[in-house]
Amino acid sequence: MRTMKGIPASPGIQQAPAWKYESDDIEVSRAPVGDPSSEWQRLTHALERARSQVAEIHIRALSEVGSSEAAIFEAHRMFLEDPALLARARQGIFQSEISAEAAWAEGFEYYAAKLEGLGDELLRARAADVRDVGALVLRILLGRERSSKPSPSAPSIVIARDLTPSDTIGLDRAFVRGFATMEGGPTSHTAILAKALQLPAVVGLGQRLFEVDDGALVLIDGERGEIVVEPDVAAAEAFARRSKEVQRIEQEASEHAEEPAQTTDGHRVEVVANIGRVEEARAAIGLGAEGVGLLRTEFLYLERSYAPSEEEQLHAYGEILDAFESRPVVVRTLDAGGDKELRYLDPTPEANPFLGWRAIRLCLDRPDLFKTQLRALLRASVGHDLRIMFPMVAILDEVRRAKNLLYEARKEVEAAGHRTASAIQVGIMVEVPAVAVMADQFAREVDFLSIGTNDLTQYTMAAERTNQRVAYLGDACHPAVLRQIRGVIKAGHQAGIWVGLCGELAGDPQGIPILLGLGLDEFSMAPGFIPHAKALIRKWSFAGARELAALALDLDSAPAVRAAVAASSPA
């Protein structure tokens, strides 16, 4: 038995045999081959396939984890379109007359080595990305489109040197129970993606990890950052106890998942799901989702060369709304940017796309695009409780203009002879601090407010979640964020409207009691968190939660707030 300590990357406790993910050290021969033009054709076809695979992975990542985490696949795409890399490969094929594989491998290895040689840690990470994408194309050329061991076929803990984003998203999740890697840090891609996928992960375990045999039983504790390989009897028993406890809690949570989330003193709140695809809809309902607090619509717009039509959108929204029947579904209108995400719009480069022309700003500048979405939503609304929400609103004028366009869209739909639901709630996301500060004025013009704590925290703390060096600042439990939440809820209630929250904080066991105590009406989270959230809410009294919230908002840091919640008792 060996116990290995690494860096906790994602919580959870699991046990399963190890499944070693070998990065292919693909051997490519430099021997000359006969036909340069056919080698060139093979390469260009392989590149086309690679581009569409990266596009697919990008979309999947976007709907599963969100756009900042998925941005890495944008870089992959740029590499696949690099003219110098292609020229190098072409030269290899036509001048050295080597195979497509050899020419391509030499090409991307040249750049990867150069980037590594520059010494900067970020550039070394880029080198790894280049190799990741390079290997993808090689596998296609060699007819080995997954590595020789495609995916575990039985429940397993994946062991690897490091896992690239495409690895993590690409593995068939049916049998992955956790990740353990030699390299990586707490905010590396493995950590970010594992958390989003709700699987335990431990990183930075070092070279010793290599010694673990394929199939050896591994216990993983993501919170403690530990793995135990081939546990002895004592370790196995301790694990079994802990895991039984966790399972019991899970079991209880799922048994009661469909029941309402009501505190011990009778205060009821709504618990709903954040989803991005039809497939997630049915699963969410099974996990106790009472509706949808955030339906992301970007999947319809990205990775294509023209905007989706009204009919196409109508079909997609219809499928999702049908799954939810009469439960409320809050749809967020297009929340993507103009610079690279939506190439068919204005490709003007921006220094800071996340602070730039995107979301509602883009939509108001492109009324045809925007109204196409609005018309599709209006038509899909019949027989459902559809609610529409505008992202990244910063000023009142945007709300008014958006509502006007919605009104126009409704007229257009009716003129074309279609029906729409008679009452559709219209709200906005509160993610720009300006809106939080002026919530009282915004509350008067909408039917609801939904707080997007992920971005609100980024803007408030001026730190990117996915930037390893400053990620520690981006904790939504910081009192600066909590006070804004308090203000927004107060303003909403004073105007007689409901207030929801669709950021990670809504599913965070340390955030939930505070949000409960601040009077939040609707908690929207990734479906996997729903049973636990409901179970937790049922343990609390509203009175107790209010006390905790009042206390927490007077503290001076996120760690202090988390400690206070951890130390508190639900009664």
């Binding site: 590499f79 690099d82 003219p83 520059l118 550039l123 690279k340 490709p347 480069p349 220094a351 800071n352």
Partner: protein
């Protein structure tokens, strides 16, 4: 044929987003455009290649030389100059 000599003042140098913007800007023109790091002298790279640009190792306060040749070299030069001199804000 035109040559520009520009100073990159961005905190991250010609990496990450500034690099992507630089490459995107260059790729919008027909002219052949090359760049090299004038401070840490090295090879010329194709300015439309993100990998090439990244390997220039341009840090904050390094100067780059940009070489343009083609029918639209004048607007290309203007766009690239504006981009770098505005510190990648336009």
């Amino acid at each position: 044929m035109q040559t520009l000599r520009l100073k990159v003042v961005n905190e991250v140098g010609l990496h990450a987003r500034p690099a992507a913007m630089f490459v995107q800007a260059a790729s919008g023109f027909q002219a052949t455009i090359r760049a090299r790091n004038a401070t840490v002298t090295g090879d010329w790279v194709d300015a439309k290649s993100i990998l090439g640009v990244l390997t220039l190792g341009v840090e904050k306060d390094h100067e780059i030389e940009v070489d343009l040749d083609g029918p639209d070299e004048a607007p290309a030069a203007a766009a690239i100059q504006r981009l770098v001199e505005s510190d990648f804000k336009s």
